[in-house]
Symmetry: C2
Subunit: 410 residues, 2 copies
């Protein structure tokens, strides 16, 4: 029998983040872990000694299947930034006292950029104090902006959702025989992976969006209006996909041109919203045509009713691979996905030093954006398309997708 | 061999409006119709002689299956109000000249309230001039506000979509361990059927929304803020579903308190949007907590990737029943759905005089809304739940739902 395990989730949820949790749990149990704890609301909750014994909530194989299909972070999440070790060692001492009390030998943290920073610091501290606890990062983020890994679990399902509903919204835009412009607003602060995924909708039965604006390029409102006018010469319904994070040449976010309230989170990120509304209003004023602003909003990260089979399987695999590696002695590593081939799509897991991953953002390569800056290239689509393949059917009960129930006691 | 048939779609689309179109087409063909034309953009397009021969676009049984699963109105739609016959008889003469030119014997119109007004007037005019062309209405609307029929095709799928994503949004709201309020904005100008459907999410694995505000009751902002504060005493994440059409005691829409532009359509309806944003801003100011405004937007009417099997089947059936009745000599009627029993759910079609249906709005009965006016009763749910049962799997191609392609030449 091995020692105890603890696993947490951090940062924004994805539609498949619980598949990674299920992968960690099942693999740990199968490989002889004693107790598998789940920290509630990540490291922040752990500091308040909020955790559960996962075996009290996962009773059988059906529960595992339900957990995989449950949207949002089952254990709750946090956006908590650990201080540097030399700035406040007390927090680290506190965490390790709690971990020792629970007799933890393996620590898994499922998260994105900011969360990998947390695992890295904990692994560094463990080394500093000669602790034998092993710390492993499990990648997740819809934004696909983690360095080194070919892609990130969570991205494929978000891309599939965006591709699917973009097709539906484009159809919906065709319904009235009148000039109209639909602006679709897609998540992605600095990385345009998700916005680019709107181009997946361009296929045999759909023309796809007319323009796609990624945050990797400076956004020019004048050029945008001109391009819309140009498109309107040949078609009635124009559909434009924009990232919530597009910025003007002077560095301001387009959504900042609104007079909306902007929250700032623990990592200093502004809440971005209202880009599509602002641009729709500009078009109404300048062109005078009918406009619609559609925010794809938080459903991009919680639409578990339409996930990619490839993605949810890989989410499970990175969880399992992290457990396997930790049990074999690894620490301070993140599991990465390595694409072996595109066609047929083949992908395996490897390990990578967290120091070379944390806090580094991977954006869309400039060469995968067209010269005019308003679409993605075929190379971008060849990269994304394998990640949205196939489905994992929701378990439907009484007409609705069933999730694994858990009532957070705090 | 029978004569020619023409079919049109009008008003807002639904996720299953093309299942009715497929039902009309297939039944007409099977029962010996000669040509089946589709008018493009409803009666407005017909006046401009815009139509297609559907057999040139539906080639085989697979196309029928694709058409059923295609969102938005395949033939395009319109919001065109026919004048009274005595106000402008010329338009009627014009329409009948076109119908005679195409040798039309049967006319089917798939639509909601306003569209049934169109069919009624055309049937009246046919009677006036002793034309033998038969006019039949095929019900559709996500809003479920058509009179006489037990419910309306399109509503069940929209309700299933709303129930499903409300579950996902509620889960997503639980993720951070902090006080937050999520306001979900749901379609429905005067009828709260769709907003009430958010209550479907309350089941074994989900608490459902905390409050639900329908347009059938006057909305009191003070009572709303007080209720949110009260809920926050026992839970961190509060989720509220509101209809886009909720109004204050003085008759103003809540969304009119925003300074947004309001379009007005041909039927005099204002475009309603911004209710959730406004209420979220009120809460930020008054309570100071984190708020999110989520508009379920036009996906409510085009999310064909998650439809109700009951609904899409009934949508087909009302189309087929209209053809059968017209071929048997009926005119000036709409097909209605008559519920025989709730448990087990059984439902049949009947015919009803269009004069008693057109322009009458069916709202949620007051006794199906709680005394406090902020939730629906179990009776409401017993009525809705059978309509969201079972699924019709999308036909997935290369990772995305496939639709029947049609490029509108105009």
């Amino acid at each position: 029998m091995r020692g105890n395990v603890i696993v947490g989730q951090s940062g924004g949820p994805t539609a498949v983040i619980n598949s990674s949790l299920a992968g960690v749990y099942k693999t740990a149990k199968e490989r002889g872990a004693n107790k598998v704890y789940g920290m509630l609301h990540g490291i922040q909750g752990l500091l308040e000694e909020k955790y559960i014994n996962l075996s009290e909530h996962i009773h059988n194989e059906l529960d595992i299947e339900l957990l995989k299909r449950t949207p949002s972070s089952y254990l709750g999440s946090c956006r908590y930034k650990l201080p540097e070790i030399n700035q406040n060692e007390n927090i680290y001492k506190q965490i390790f006292i709690i971990l020792q009390k629970l007799e933890i030998e393996y620590f898994f943290y499922i998260g994105g950029n900011d969360s990998m920073d947390t695992v890295k610091k904990l692994a560094d501290y463990a080394q500093k104090i000669n602790s034998s606890i092993r710390f492993m990062g499990v990648p997740k983020t819809i934004d696909n902006d983690l360095a080194v890994t070919d892609h990130t679990p969570g991205f494929g399902s978000a891309a599939k959702y965006i591709g699917s509903i973009t097709k539906e919204v484009i159809r919906d835009g065709l319904v009235y025989g009148q000039k109209s412009v639909t602006i679709i607003e897609i998540m992605g602060r600095n990385a345009g992976w998700l916005t680019g995924a709107a181009a997946l909708s361009k296929c045999e039965d759909c023309e796809g969006p007319d323009m796609i604006y990624l945050p990797e390029r400076i956004f020019d409102i004048e050029a945008f209006v001109k391009k819309v006018e140009e498109k309107q010469k040949t078609k009635e319904s124009v559909v434009v996909a924009v990232s919530e994070g597009i910025k003007l040449a002077d560095g301001r976010y387009v959504c900042e041109l609104n007079d909306t309230v902007h929250e700032i989170d623990a990592f200093g990120h502004k809440a971005l919203t209202g880009t599509s509304r602002y641009l729709a209003d500009v078009l109404t004023e300048r062109i005078g045509c009918k406009t619609r602003a559609i925010e794809f909003n938080s459903l991009q990260r919680c639409a578990s009713h339409i996930v990619s089979r490839v993605d949810i399987t890989e989410a499970w695999q990175v969880g399992g691979a992290a457990v396997k590696a930790a049990f074999e002695g690894e620490t301070g590593q993140m599991v990465i996905l390595k694409r072996i081939s595109n066609d047929p799509y083949q992908c395996t897991t490897e390990l990578y030093d967290l120091h070379q991953i944390a806090n580094i953002e991977k954006t869309v390569p400039q060469e995968w954006i067209t010269a005019t800056g308003d679409y993605v290239t075929p190379e971008f689509l060849s990269y994304v398309r394998p990640l949205i393949q196939a489905e994992l059917t929701p378990i439907m009960v009484d007409g609705l997708p069933r999730h694994l129930y858990y009532s957070n006691p705090w």
